[in-house]
């Protein structure tokens, strides 16, 4: 049986949402930055524990000083990925705030927090204590790198497993 699910990626601008999806769907990475306007939709088919899952991945334009994330696009999503840039500490707080706001649109659905650009260790800014604190409050946190591909598939698969029928 094929199950179709919609998931959304949210976060501040330039944290690597589009890059994570590109790595997951096309197995590619681009150093260049093309900011996302509006929405992008991608599709990824994967097999998990005997289930065939078709994931429709919605990539929402990131939040900056002028543009807010259009959270209405989250409705109907079965799972949410909040993305932060490990080299810009404030993007972690943006992700946490977006998570609180998104619940009104998506309901309480499985979530994961991707702290991205883990390959840039020298520029790392996010405090480990802050991440421990969030983990203690129930956040599922994955350190990812769209550039090296580190933890990208596991991050999406963790979320997918939680969305599958039978998971809580």
């Amino acid at each position: 049986m094929i199950v179709q699910k919609k998931i959304c990626l949210l976060g501040a601008y330039a944290v690597g949402k589009t890059s994570l999806i590109r790595r997951f769907v096309e197995r590619m990475f681009d150093e260049r930055y093309f900011t996302t306007v509006g929405v992008r939709i991608d599709k990824k088919e994967l097999s998990l524990d005997g289930h065939d899952v078709t994931m429709m991945v919605w990539d929402l334009a990131g939040e900056d000083d002028v543009t807010r994330v259009d959270l209405r696009r989250c409705k109907g999503a079965s799972g949410l990925v909040f993305v932060a840039d490990g080299c810009r500490a404030h993007t972690l707080e943006t992700a946490v705030r977006l998570a609180a706001e998104a619940e009104a649109f998506a309901g309480s659905v499985p979530c994961v927090l991707a702290v991205n650009k883990v390959d840039l260790a020298a520029e790392w800014e996010v405090e480990e204590s802050r991440l421990d604190d969030l983990a203690a409050r129930g956040w599922k946190i994955v350190r990812t790198s769209a550039k090296t591909g580190h933890n990208v598939d596991p991050m999406f698969e963790t979320l997918a497993r939680e969305m599958l029928p039978g998971a809580d």
Binding site: M1, I2, Q4, D42, M56, W58, R72, G76
Partner: protein, 515 residues
């Protein structure tokens, strides 16, 4: 400072003292000159619109920056105006807005839907162009029949349309529930298109806070591609439309959405993500792919019918012609087969030219004119003949006839001097020659006519000789009549003189059957 400058009108000027007045003015000029010029400039800035516009323009960017830094008031007050502008633009050029707001979609949707159809459309267009003559004739007839202007008919009939694809989409998630395409149409990724259509729909309605009514329908234009979106409570029905379909088709879409929602209510809300449960909607969706049978609109399908009719009658005519041609061909072959002394060795029937190879006995009837007699026009049939000798009894007989005649005519029956008495052996010899010739003649269907010519030598008187010659002929006929001569007709001819002392024969033939 300018506020504290005393005005000239209120200044105490001693009467008649022009010099002092001038001194005051000079003083004033010295004191407040630069400010006055500035005031004049300021006044003109305020009063002159274009001056003012220029001034505002100079400070607007920094003013907006400053305002946004202070708080959200400016954004809030400008939003309705921006929205109006976008709304206007959207009304005038929806594609532009989709391309600017959702740049990723415009190209993708076009790529996913449009390109795949191009070949097919080209084929259809070509067919249309080719059928143009039959079509325009039909339109002229219709214009004449209805009394409408020809151009009006052409306009109406040229509004081709086709519903090429139907998407049943779960409204909240944008997930594809079912997707059907018209025959000949290919699509790349219906899942993606479903999501994007939903996003566009949401974008339009969210941006302008227009609530999506349950029965509402929207038209999204992306390039030359139009998508009709019919809203239900939980589902969207999106039809990819080409051309200008009659608006009634929208009602059909609305009806289908309503139907599907009624039947699948429990599986739509909530939707578990398994599209296979919507498989049974296929026939209903297919019913929206209008033009399945008459894809290129009614008008053109009638053209095809006309063309089909013409083709059918042409085929029928060809069949009749072929059959008729076959009949005369068979007639020709039969006459050739029945022709004595002719053997048909090969007969090739073409669509127009026919060829016959044959062998012909030199004695057989000439074959010229035979095809014409069977009903063929000149030069339609080429008849080639090779020589051969037929063993047919008649031809054998004919071939014998000539030598036998010659033998008969060379025969001389001798008589004694001054005698007309026929020697019995001589009579038998004559009878044998006559019989041989006559039997050959009979075999060829003819009667042998044998003239018996008596003669006398030059001895004796002429009178005596004439009598003697006639007597000899008559005597021989009498004598030969006692023998079998195969039906030869013997005639005793007049005598000859000065030739031989005896009898000779002249043989001829006459057709039998007129006895």
């Amino acid at each position: 400072m300018p506020a504290s400058i005393p005005s000239s009108g209120s200044a105490p000027v001693p009467a008649g003292d022009a010099e002092r007045d001038q001194a005051w003015a000079e003083l004033r000029r010295l004191l407040v000159g630069p400010e006055r010029e500035q005031i004049g400039e300021l006044r003109s800035r305020i009063e002159d619109d274009s001056e003012r516009a220029g001034a505002v323009a100079r400070v607007l960017p920094s003013a907006v920056d400053a305002s946004l830094e202070r708080g959200p008031e400016l954004r809030r007050s400008m939003q309705p105006m921006v929205r109006d502008v976008i709304e206007l633009t959207l009304k005038h050029d929806p594609a532009l807005v989709i391309d600017t707001v959702l740049p990723f979609f415009g190209t993708l949707i076009r790529r996913y839907i449009t390109n795949a159809l191009q070949d097919f459309m080209d084929a259809v267009n070509q067919a249309q162009e080719r059928s143009v003559s039959t079509r325009s004739i039909a339109w002229r007839v219709e214009a004449w029949r209805t009394g409408k202007p020809y151009a009006e008919i052409v306009l109406a009939k040229s509004l081709l349309y086709r519903i090429e694809q139907i998407f049943l989409i779960h409204r909240q998630t944008g997930l594809k529930l079912q997707h059907r395409v018209a025959r000949g149409v290919e699509t790349k990724d219906a899942d993606m298109v479903s999501g994007m259509l939903t996003a566009i729909e949401d974008f339009i309605h969210d941006s302008f806070s227009t609530a999506i009514g349950e029965k509402q329908s929207d038209t999204i234009q992306v390039g030359d591609l139009r998508v009709w979106v019919q809203h239900g409570r939980h589902a969207l029905l999106a039809a990819v439309v080409r051309g200008a379909p009659p608006l009634e088709l929208k009602e059909r879409l609305a009806q289908v959405v309503e139907d599907v929602e009624r039947k699948f209510e429990d599986r739509l809300n909530p939707y578990a993500g398994d599209p296979s449960v919507f498989a049974p909607t296929a026939p209903e969706l297919d019913s929206c792919l209008l033009g399945r049978g008459d894809v290129e609109t009614g008008g053109s399908s009638r053209n095809w019918k006309i063309a089909g009719g013409l083709a059918a009658s042409a085929l029928l005519a060809a069949a009749v012609l072929w059959w008729w041609d076959g009949a005369r061909w068979n007639r020709l072959l039969a006459s050739l087969r029945n022709e004595p002394g002719v053997v048909l060795t090969e007969a090739r029937r073409g669509w127009y030219y026919h060829e016959i190879e044959s062998l012909r006995d030199p004695l057989a009837n000439p074959l010229e004119g035979l095809p014409e007699r069977a009903g063929f026009g000149a030069n339609r049939v080429s008849v080639r003949t090779g020589p051969f000798l037929s063993l047919d009894a008649r031809f054998v007989a004919m071939r014998e006839l000539e030598p036998r005649r010659r033998a008969l005519e060379d025969l001389r029956i001798a008589f004694a001097v001054d005698s007309s008495v026929v020697d019995r052996a001589e009579a038998e010899r004559a009878a044998a020659a006559i019989r041989s010739f006559a039997s050959s003649a009979a075999a060829t269907g003819q009667r042998a006519i044998v003239e018996v010519l008596g003669s006398a030598d030059s001895t004796g008187t002429a009178t005596r000789n004439t009598v003697l010659a006639a007597m000899r002929a008559r005597e021989l006929v009498k004598a030969v009549s006692g023998f079998e001569t195969a039906g030869a007709v013997l005639r005793a001819g007049s005598g000859e003189t000065g030739a031989i002392r005896g009898v000779r024969f002249r043989a001829s033939l006459e057709p039998r059957g007129n006895e």
